[in-house]
């Protein structure tokens, strides 16, 4: 009996010792179920949390999927919810908050938030709704070697300069379509419009209401900018999203790209691209549009939320586990997986583009309850303009009409 107890104590000590330090995992024996998108930064964070706290939890499940936003509302609606935490971004937090599916975290931040910096807290009306851990944005990818070959000096900083550089590359006969952008019909087309519209200083809605306000000169200028750039993109550009543009870049088929910062690490690593592509690739700030100084990009964050429909103990254990991973040790181990907002992060070459874009004053992606309806209308109705079937005025009028139909049905407009 004594021996058995002794052995048990030893095993427990060994288990505790195996974690790098005694992480504070909150209440014991709780079930922790994390849902998130499948990319390296989220794998690192959730994996570290699991290493720290799986031993003290009754179960620790991580589900990372590509289409999280399609079903997360349904998964969090029942009580108890299917997941105790969802890792979200700006737009997806709104989607959960619209249905009231995530809980305020103020007391949990107070209890477990020693590692959390104030700028990580996503606060709405004084309530902390999410804790961000990484940033992301679109920015300019450049093949310096090809620009030099075409006789372009320096890295293009404005839309005009990007267009001029693309023209020089085409004129030099190096590439017919030197530019890649994520313009796949749907969400991606809508997002590209957002980049340039925000860079021109546009607002999506009339102040303080859900009435659309995008049929204006700023939107027309944004559309014209995108069309000038798209002239230099492969004619198939309306079918290309991140995976396709990254592949085209790694295959050496493009010299200028407007792509997500989170793709930078994947392009610069030693898989996929040839040495020439990797060596020549430079990540720079997103180009500015018009006479303005705002980079054409939207700033995004990714952060953790805690489900509303679970017990307080489960919520506490989940929060403690995830926060226990937000340390400089985790960052040191996975430095190049993300633009971390955490202590100890050393920005490497893969982070240069996002850092420069954020420093240039790019706007965050709007956190407004009805932005999803607007984004969806943009993604569906602008396509005719890019195909050349429709004028900018008609396309923007269509967007407003489509948005109003959807917003009325969703109860945002009368």
């Amino acid at each position: 009996m004594f021996l058995k107890k002794f052995a048990l104590a030893g095993a427990t000590a060994a288990l505790l010792g195996s974690a790098a330090y005694a992480a504070d995992c909150g209440p014991n024996g709780q079930s922790i179920r994390v849902l998130g998108s499948d990319f390296p930064a989220i794998q690192a964070l959730s994996g570290t949390a699991q290493d720290n706290c799986a031993a003290s939890a009754s179960e620790f499940v991580i589900s990372l999927k590509d289409n999280t936003r399609d079903f997360m509302n349904q998964a969090l609606t029942p009580n108890p919810a299917e997941y105790s935490s969802v890792i979200v971004a700006n737009a997806t937090l709104t989607q959960l908050m619209n249905d009231g599916l995530v809980r305020p975290l103020n007391d949990l931040v107070e209890k477990y938030g020693a590692n959390i910096k104030p700028n990580q807290l996503i606060t709405i009306d004084g309530n902390v709704m999410a804790v961000a851990f990484m940033a992301n944005s679109q920015h300019l990818f450049v093949r310096e070697d090809i620009l030099a070959e075409a006789g372009v000096e320096g890295i293009p900083a404005t839309v005009d300069e990007v267009v001029a550089a693309a023209e020089k590359i085409r004129a030099a006969g190096i590439m017919e379509y030197p530019l890649v952008m994520n313009m796949q019909v749907g969400w991606n087309v809508g997002e590209v419009f957002n980049l340039f519209y925000l860079a021109h200083g546009g607002e999506f809605f009339a102040p303080g209401s859900a009435e659309p306000a995008i049929n204006n000169d700023k939107a027309r200028a944004a559309l014209a900018d995108i069309k000038r750039l798209a002239e230099y993109a492969n004619p198939d550009y309306l079918t290309m999203a991140s995976n396709e543009t990254q592949a085209a870049w790694e295959a050496g088929q493009a010299a200028l790209g407007i792509m997500w910062g989170s793709r930078g690490g994947a392009i610069l690593d030693d898989e996929g691209a040839t040495d020439a592509v990797r060596g020549g690739t430079v990540l720079a700030a997103a180009p500015t549009a018009g006479d303005g100084s705002t980079p054409a990009a939207t700033l995004w964050w990714d952060g953790i939320t805690i489900a509303a429909n679970i017990s307080d103990e489960e919520a506490e254990a989940t929060f403690a586990a995830l926060v226990s991973a937000m340390t400089s040790d985790m960052v040191a181990e996975h430095n190049d997986d993300a633009i971390w907002l955490l202590e100890g992060y050393k920005p490497g070459p893969a982070a240069a583009g996002v850092s420069a874009t954020a420093a240039g004053g790019a706007k965050p992606y709007p956190m407004i309850p009805y932005i999803n309806q607007m984004h969806n209308a943009l993604g569906a109705e602008l396509v005719d303009y890019f195909k050349g079937d429709e004028s900018a005025d008609q396309a923007l009028a269509d967007v407003e009409a489509a948005y109003m139909t959807a917003a009325k049905e969703a109860g945002f407009l009368k």
Partner: protein, 343 residues
């Protein structure tokens, strides 16, 4: 059969049909008459890594209270059916009043998502259905006349497209028609136009989708007709031969009439299948040039973040109505044949 016996005989089927077909359709219909409650919005300050700003958010408690009270949402009558995302009565009327030529009117109509989807869906159904029937019959007769030795392998090969999962099949074709793919590059070489892109042209996208549709459903009509061919009476065929009928005349006057009931069956199945065309459009990333009714339902439910159930339900009801309209002629014909035989 006595009415009583008949009732007990049919009861299990009838209750299953009620439970799994009638009830869901009724519930979708009820859903289509409702829209979301008005959202109670509050303006507040939101802060994050990129600074603070004024934003609006939903007062979930107040909205939840409304929802508790009436879980189905606000009653909206048939307004969802007539709004811009569906039949768009107001927009169509406006277009009719303000346009001069029929071409302009058509352009305006084609700009509305429901009609755009309907036009592609109907074109797809009208092109793919007859071609699949005609080609399926031709292949079945061809295979049926093959020597015994190669019949088996020929049947197997003809069935292959049916074995490929639609999503995978269309994805493979999508890669092949890419300007770097084998078909896309060959086309560029043949036409001498290095900028030719199948994916960037609406006409070529439509043709590609329909060719894919024919390729994928052909085995279904082929194997059905092939099975039917095994029952064609030899005596009648021989009699026709003795009367000096040519091969074509035998097909036209003996085989086809014999297969008519099967034709009706295949037509019904194909009409229903083709009218809800969906997978190839997703796999081909073809939404820029072609959308179908199923695509706009999918879009309302999946792409818009918080789903628009009313809108999706209304489109679903109209899809069902469309299928009924398409099937009616075939059903009437079958019913007439049936009545004729019964008397």
């Amino acid at each position: 059969m006595k009415n009583r016996t008949f009732f007990w005989f049919i009861l299990p089927t009838l209750s299953a049909m009620l439970l799994f077909i009638a009830l869901p359709i009724a519930s979708v219909f009820v859903q289509s008459l409702h829209i979301e409650h008005e959202q109670v919005l509050v303006v507040s300050e939101s802060c994050g890594p990129f600074g603070c700003r004024e934003t609006t958010s939903v007062d979930t408690e107040a909205t939840e209270a409304l929802r508790e009270e009436r879980p189905l949402g606000r009653f909206n009558g048939l307004s969802t059916y007539t709004n811009r995302a569906h039949l768009a009565f107001a927009e169509v009327g406006e277009a009719w009043r303000t346009t001069e030529s029929f071409g302009d009117f058509f352009d305006r109509i084609y700009n509305l998502r429901f009609y755009r989807a309907l036009i592609f869906t109907l074109t797809y159904t009208a092109v793919v259905t007859p071609l699949v029937i005609a080609l399926g019959l031709a292949i079945a007769i061809g295979v049926n006349n093959l020597p015994r030795m190669i019949k088996g392998p020929a049947i197997f090969v003809s069935l292959l497209p049916f074995l490929v999962t639609p999503l995978v099949g269309s994805l493979i074709l999508f890669w092949m028609v890419d300007s770097d793919g084998i078909l896309g590059a060959t086309l560029q070489w043949l036409t001498g136009d290095p900028t030719l892109s199948l994916k960037a042209s609406a006409t070529l996208t439509w043709i590609m989708l329909m060719v894919y549709g024919i390729w994928h459903t052909l085995p279904f009509s082929f194997i059905t007709f092939y099975a039917g061919l095994q029952t064609v009476p030899e005596d009648t065929l021989e009699a026709a031969m003795i009367d000096g009928a040519t091969r074509w005349q035998r097909v036209r006057h003996v085989v086809v009439p014999h297969l008519m009931p099967l034709m009706a069956f295949v037509t019904l199945m194909l009409l229903m299948d083709n009218f809800r065309v969906f997978e190839p459009i997703i796999s081909f990333q073809a939404q820029a040039h072609a959308t179908s009714l199923s695509i706009i339902i999918y879009n309302d439910l999946r792409e818009s973040g918080n789903p628009l159930y009313g809108s999706a339900a209304a489109t679903s009801m109209m899809t069902i109505a469309g299928v009924v309209v398409l099937l009616t002629p075939v059903l009437i014909r079958t019913w007439r044949d049936f009545s004729r035989k019964a008397h």
